[in-house]
């Protein structure tokens, strides 16, 4: 602007004087960070440390004994068996549901979407009770099952069903937004290039969702191992038979065998930490690949 001409716009103050909308004073930032860290330390890190401290209170020998005694081993085996059935099943159902919801238009789609969220919405205890109502001795199918000598409630099938129900949303929930964002263009391209349904899925869809799927599997796995409420209702707490790890921990705790309880709990806590580590690694991986 040449001197002498007047500008209709007010002259701007220099940039340094203007307080930036996104910049808070230093003390506020420090305070907020400190509060968050303090909260995390008290409510997350401290209890976790306590678990490991308690578990090792009577020495490594007792810790090993608690973890390797037959009832504990049986609980670990049952938990792993449940996970081995539930996670693959939920991967298949989760992909199928997400595929249907994200890639097709059909009637009742919103109902299906809502149903997938149902296990998150109801208390796990109620999920367990539902299975008792259906399959229990006094339930709808109970008499028929007893007549045919099939045990579901207070047996392994019930535990698997209840766990599967509770952990169903993890894979599907992870995949639906991802698949919706990716749209159907690549699949349609594959089809016009002559690929059949399986080829399209394995060569185009699956590679595109692999990290999201892996993430869903990890979350599903973590929850399947740790599920307490629903399993507690259907298991019957038979030691060495229908106790999963969380149930075994509760039994030990109720027997005042605090150290043993924490020893088994430390295993679960360790699995949870490992899960988190893998999850973080995946997140790094996906960020890099984008």
């Amino acid at each position: 602007m040449t001197p002498g001409t007047t500008s209709p716009l007010p002259i701007r103050p220099s940039r340094a004087v203007l307080p930036r909308a996104t910049r808070d004073p230093a003390w506020a930032r420090l305070l907020l960070t400190a509060l968050a860290l303090l909260f995390l330390a008290f409510f997350l890190v401290l209890p976790l440390a306590a678990v490991f401290a308690q578990a090792l209170e009577k020495g490594l020998g007792y810790y090993m004994h608690s973890v390797l005694e037959p009832d504990a081993l049986s609980a670990i085996r049952l938990t792993l068996l449940t996970v081995a059935i539930v996670v693959p099943a939920n991967v298949v159902f989760g992909i199928a549901a997400a595929w249907a919801i994200a890639k097709f238009r059909f009637r009742g789609k919103s109902i299906l979407t809502t149903l997938i969220d149902l296990p998150f919405a109801v208390s796990p205890v109620i999920s367990g009770l539902v299975y008792v109502l259906v399959f229990g001795a006094q339930g709808w199918l109970g008499p028929w099952l007893i007549a045919h000598n099939v045990r579901i409630i207070f047996a392994v099938p019930g535990i698997v069903l209840a766990t599967a129900f509770v952990t169903f949303p993890f894979v599907a929930r992870e995949l639906i937004p991802l698949m919706q964002a990716q749209g159907t263009d690549e699949e349609v391209s594959a089809v016009t290039l002559g690929a059949n349904g399986w080829q399209t899925f394995f060569r185009v869809t699956l590679p595109n969702i692999r990290w999201g799927l892996f993430y869903g599997v990890i979350l599903c796995n973590a929850r399947a191992m740790g599920e307490f409420g629903a399993v507690s209702v259907v298991s019957g707490h038979i030691r060495g038979e229908t106790n999963t790890m969380p149930l075994h921990i509760e039994v030990l705790y109720n027997d005042y065998n605090i150290v043993a309880a924490f020893a088994v709990a430390s295993l679960l806590a360790f699995l949870a930490l490992a899960t988190l580590a893998i999850k973080t690694a995946i997140e790094w991986r996906t960020e890099e690949s984008q």
């Binding site: 391209s189 594959a190 089809v191 016009t192 060569r203």
Partner: protein, 351 residues
Amino acid sequence: MSIEAHGITKAFGAFAALNGVDVNVPQGKLVALLGPSGSGKTTLLRIIAGLEFPDPGSGRVLFHGEDVTDQPAGKRRVGFVFQHYALFRHMTVFENVAFGLRVRRRRDRPSRESIAERVHKLLELVQLEGLAGRFPSQLSGGQRQRVALARALAVEPKVLLLDEPFGALDARVRKELRRWLRRFHDEIHVTTIFVTHDQEEALEIADEVVIMNQGRVEQVGTPQEVYDRPATPFVYQFLGNVNVLRAPALATALAETGGAADRNPDGLIYVRPHDIELSPHDAGGDGLSAVVRHIHAAGPLARVVLEQIQSREHVEVEISRSELSAMNFRVNDLVRFRLRITHAFEEDYAI
């Protein structure tokens, strides 16, 4: 490979996307489906590709006389290029182009070596030889578009279908790429249909233009035919700028001054901005008087907006920059204008 579509009707719920559309694309031609958004052009393209199907009992799609209406896309041997390219993002350029060959049944599948050879030939054809190892995210829009084209061509399609092929590119790349597409088509001679809403694009490169509006075909013809002899007011207005003038005010005036005005059944006069002559007012002669309201002189042509004195209608005129400076008039000056050519539509097409 000629393509015919007869009496195609397609409704999405209550919305009629296509309403008894007939299209005939002769072997080896480059044809544009041109229309505003919602005119049904993309739906028609997807029906030809086999990605959508016409409403039951409505019409047929024929490839070289053979009825393919009920064949799915994978069986029709069409190369389809999407507006947003739809490249496989987890595959390299090479793998993208090879995809159509690799998914073939074992006995139809070429050997690894011949696939590699073919892919490299195609990449050469689309001028992307050096980029075989790149991922789509590492390419520019124009490069992605050419990868999509090479991928579609890998399966040796009998028909090439392009959905808004340049829609997602910036103006300069668009221009380059569409000229390239024209030359490319002259080389490979595959019957090609492309969808566009850009009349300039369609008129520049197509052998034949199919103009669509509200699920119907308005006119079919070479670019020159449709531009010079628009069949309907819609076509006239869609292809380039046009002044629509209310006839009664002008017609009498024009008749007085000797200028011929074709009057349309709808009582309107259609005239393109470059078909109007300007002359200084005090020079006398025939023509209507008007006041200059705006002069836009950026670009090769100057656009002058006039306000006609009697009817107060605005008239847009395009004249060369040299004419403008020769006449040397300014905003609010009085001028005379004459319509060189006006256009009348045949009664049949009147809406």
